[in-house]
């Protein structure tokens, strides 16, 4: 075969070619040799001499295909209503397959003549060329599909749509009315997409206009009716169940029949008709669901309302209110000794219950987790009495103390560790973190110096947790307190070495000392009472002071005897008792070494204790039956009251402690703590305001308030009036001034 252009007789060549084309589009049997000959025929026609016959070939082919499609249409129309889809689908499969082959057979024509005329992609994208211009030649495959669209789909589209919708409707209602297999329906629907696949833009246009739009409309109608039917038949609970089921079925159906672009549209149409249209009905039911905690209903309503714009808001707010009410109920009205534990347990119970609910029912949706947080925060910071500060920080601190303190209850280390970790969950909700810090520091200090701490590891772990939650500054002093304890241990070792080396001095007792750094510990240097150290202890004090002066330079020691304690052995009774007691208690008992009774005046003068501490100490010893008072004395001990040693004392244990009485937290102490927190807050706020103003120079009142609020959030929630007061103070102190031309603006005075 020669590639040289030659004269060709169009009529005879086309007649041959036409036969083959017919064979190809009907998927008839076309032998290889014929195929190759026709292939070169196409070539010869295209390059024919004297004039190329490509244009003519194209027109003739077009005419042939047109007639072919028209004859197929007649065939489809001839079939019965029930068979129509099947026939259409069969012919379409055949035709589209045939077009694939034909495209190949005409490949020379396509590539050499048609592609050249066709607009490039770039022109299509950016140019003004209209792709659909009629005189434009199409590649043969494309031409064939276009003809199918024009002469098959256009005249048939109403019928096809009606039958398709009918079939889908049958599928929805579960009737097996339709004879077509689902692959047929899917195939027919897909043919709307396939005939436009050659197009560069809007390939789904036909699918959408011919099928999707009316389909969505029909879907909407169907589910609108379905929804009102279901609502009449069943409760909201059951309704939601059914709707979810319907929605999921419809999702599956979409996947079975439709083009992927429609999945979302169908789903949202279902949701619109069945959920959004009846939003009020569902939302009205939410309150009951939440209050009675119907998990399945809640899960369903969450699943349904989630996809509706603003649909969840009602459910979220009911949930929040419910958690809040449950929380308040759990923490209110607590009585008894362990209020702290009741509070924390109650709070944690509510928290973990609803945490689990948000997790299981609401898929950890962010709206619900933040509602839970807000509800918990409002419970934790709720003031049952508006005039008193919130008790939560104090209670939580006491609970932590009870966990970290040595106790007979025991509990394994990991157990305690878990509980402390849970405390952090409550801690995070506390607004007044500074109040917690105060209480915690006081209790921790007491635990450490009275050697009542369960485990130093647990102590340190807790400090680290607080540090993680609130930052370095928050736990700075707690860390310092903690290091002082270990520094003290070193110091005691050095001290005993010192005693050994220096003439083997004996102190006559087992001495241990905590040396605390002033300012880090929650104690002041002002000792609350004078105290004359008993002779028995005097030597230890002297020796240690000598030693300390050698060790350090420029330091002075202040003895906090009201915090110290010792073990005293009682030798005058039937049994020997070893009792751990306060130094003040020890001092009083030691006076009875040589006498059985003393007057209060004598004792006070010897110990130099002030009357408050004296009363408390003597009372504690009388309460523990070690001392006895002659006669009934009433509230206070008069100087003349005679106190005597109880020589018949007995107790079931021989080693115990009687320290607690003196150190019981009093109401005044709690008030003091709150008062000192208040003072700290003022300073903190003033510092914050100065810092802000120093960097911003001029600021409006409201902006300043906002800045202060956001900066102090981690520590406490200051009241606006307190901030205003601090601003006033700073104006008085001339750190700030009001700007002359505006009433609500401040400027920083350098």
């Amino acid at each position: 075969m020669s590639l040289k252009p030659k004269r060709v007789d169009f009529v005879t060549t086309w007649a041959d070619l036409k036969e083959t084309v017919k064979g190809v589009v009907t998927l008839g049997n076309v032998p290889h040799t014929v195929w190759y000959n026709r292939f070169s025929d196409v070539y010869s026609l295209c390059v024919a001499y004297p004039e190329p016959l490509a244009e003519k070939l194209y027109q003739e082919t077009k005419k042939f295909l047109e007639e072919h499609v028209k004859s197929l249409l007649i065939q489809v129309n001839g079939s019965s209503e029930e068979q129509l889809l099947t026939v259409y689908y069969t012919l379409w499969q055949q035709y589209s397959q045939g077009m694939d082959y034909l495209q190949k057979l005409y490949s020379y024509l396509n590539t050499q003549h048609i592609k050249k005329q066709k607009a490039t992609d770039a022109e299509l994208l950016y140019g003004t060329l209209s792709y659909e211009s009629p005189e434009q030649m199409k590649e043969i495959g494309e031409l064939g599909l276009d003809l199918w669209k024009k002469y098959m789909i256009e005249p048939l589209k109403a019928d096809l749509l009606r039958l398709l919708l009918g079939a889908v409707h049958c599928d929805r209602t579960g009737q097996s009315l339709y004879n077509e297999k689902s692959s047929t329906i899917q195939g027919v629907i897909q043919s709307f997409v396939s005939v436009e696949e050659f197009k560069k833009k809007n390939t789904l246009e036909l699918y959408e206009t011919v099928f999707e739009v009316p389909f969505l409309e029909a879907t909407g109608d169907y589910y609108r009716q379905e929804a009102s039917r279901l609502l009449q038949e069943c409760t909201i609970s059951l309704y939601m169940e059914k709707v979810l089921q319907r929605r999921d079925e419809e999702d599956l159906r979409s996947r079975k029949f439709l083009h992927p672009s429609s999945y979302g549209k169908v789903r949202s149409e279902c949701e619109q008709r069945m959920v959004a249209d009846h939003l009020a009905a569902i939302q009205n039911e939410c309150l009951t669901m939440v209050q009675l905690e119907f998990q399945q209903d809640l899960r369903n309503s969450y699943a349904l309302l989630k996809s509706i714009q603003g649909g969840l808001s009602v459910l979220v707010s009911h949930f929040m209110e419910h958690v809040k009410q449950q929380g308040l109920r759990a923490v209110v009205n607590q009585t008894g000794d362990n209020i702290a534990a009741q509070f924390v347990d109650g709070m944690l119970g509510v928290y973990s219950k609803y945490k689990e609910m948000t997790n299981n029912v609401f898929a950890n949706d962010q709206q619900f987790t933040s509602a839970l947080d807000m509800a918990c925060a409002s419970v934790v910071n709720h003031r049952f009495n508006a005039n008193q500060p919130c008790k939560s920080p104090e209670l939580l601190a006491k609970y932590c103390d009870s966990l970290l303190r040595k106790s007979s209850k025991g509990g394994s280390d990991t157990d305690i560790d878990d509980k402390l970790a849970q405390c952090i969950a409550v801690f995070k909700y506390i607004d007044d973190k500074d109040v917690y810090q105060r209480f915690y520091a006081r209790l921790m200090a007491k635990r450490l110096i009275q050697q009542q701490s369960q485990s130093m590891d647990a102590e340190e772990a807790m400090i680290n947790r607080l540090k993680q939650a609130c930052g370095f500054e928050y736990t700075n002093k707690l860390h310092r307190v903690f290091t002082d304890v270990s520094l003290s241990s070193d110091l005691n070792n050095k001290f005993s070495n010192y005693l050994q080396n220096k003439d083997r001095i004996e102190l006559g007792l087992n001495f241990y000392i905590y040396v605390l750094m002033a300012s880090a510990w929650p104690y002041t240097l002002n000792t609350p009472t004078a105290f004359a150290v008993p002779q028995e202890l005097e030597r230890s004090v002297q020796r240690f002071e000598d030693f300390y002066r050698l060790q350090f330079n420029g330091r002075k020691l202040t003895w906090l005897h009201h915090w110290s304690q010792g073990e005293l052995k009682l030798n005058y009774l039937k049994k020997r008792y070893i009792i751990t007691m306060q130094t003040f208690q020890m001092a009083i008992l030691l006076m009875f070494e040589n006498t059985d009774s003393l007057t209060c005046k004598e004792m006070m003068e010897a110990t130099k204790l002030n009357s408050d501490y004296f009363q408390k100490t003597v009372q504690s010893l009388i309460d523990s039956k070690l001392l006895a008072v002659a006669g009934d004395t009433g509230e206070v001990f008069e100087p003349s009251t005679v106190i005597s040693l109880n020589m018949d004392y007995s107790y079931k244990r021989t080693k115990f402690r009687i320290t607690a009485a003196v150190h019981r937290e009093t109401v005044q102490e709690t008030e003091q703590t709150h008062a000192s927190v208040e003072e700290d807050r003022k300073l903190y706020l003033q510092a914050t305001i100065v810092r802000i103003m120093k960097s911003r120079k001029i600021l409006r009142h409201n902006v300043l308030i906002q800045e202060v609020l956001s900066q102090s959030k981690a520590r406490f929630a200051p009241s606006i009036s307190l901030i205003k007061k601090c601003v006033e103070t700073l104006i008085d102190k001339q750190y700030l001034e009001r700007t002359p031309n505006s009433t609500d603006e401040y400027s920083y005075v350098a």
């Binding site: 006559g508 001495f511 905590y514 002033a518």
Partner: protein, 115 residues
């Protein structure tokens, strides 16, 4: 006076209390004492005149810089011959500009450094 007698007698006893023989005779014997004391710098004025922070706390500069390490112990106090005291860190910077005590203007000479 009654308490004179009371105070006298334990003194005699305690001096001999190391003797095991006598010890068993006593009504009370001290087994252990856990004392608590607080240390602070032995200063006349609790606030450093240079940085206006309490001398017991680290100076302003140290608080701002050493946020995370435990070097606060290093921020000690220094006393001049005039008995005025400041943070050592503050004074180090001060003497570079002016070798006089900021409070009394006497020539600065170190009396002791805290430890």
């Amino acid at each position: 006076m009654a308490d004179d007698i009371d105070m006298e007698k334990p003194v005699e006893k305690s001096t001999v209390s190391n003797d095991c023989v006598v010890k068993s005779e006593k009504m009370f014997s001290l087994k252990r004492w856990n004392a608590v004391a607080m240390w602070s710098w032995d200063v006349e004025c609790e606030i450093c005149a240079i940085c206006r922070v309490q001398v017991m706390d680290a100076c302003l500069r140290c608080q701002a810089e050493n946020r995370n390490d435990k070097e606060q112990e290093e921020c000690v106090v220094i006393w001049g011959e005039c008995n005025h005291s400041f943070h050592n860190c503050c004074m180090k910077l001060w003497v570079k500009q002016n070798n006089r005590c900021p409070l009394c203007q006497q020539e600065w000479s170190v009396q002791r450094i805290g430890k």
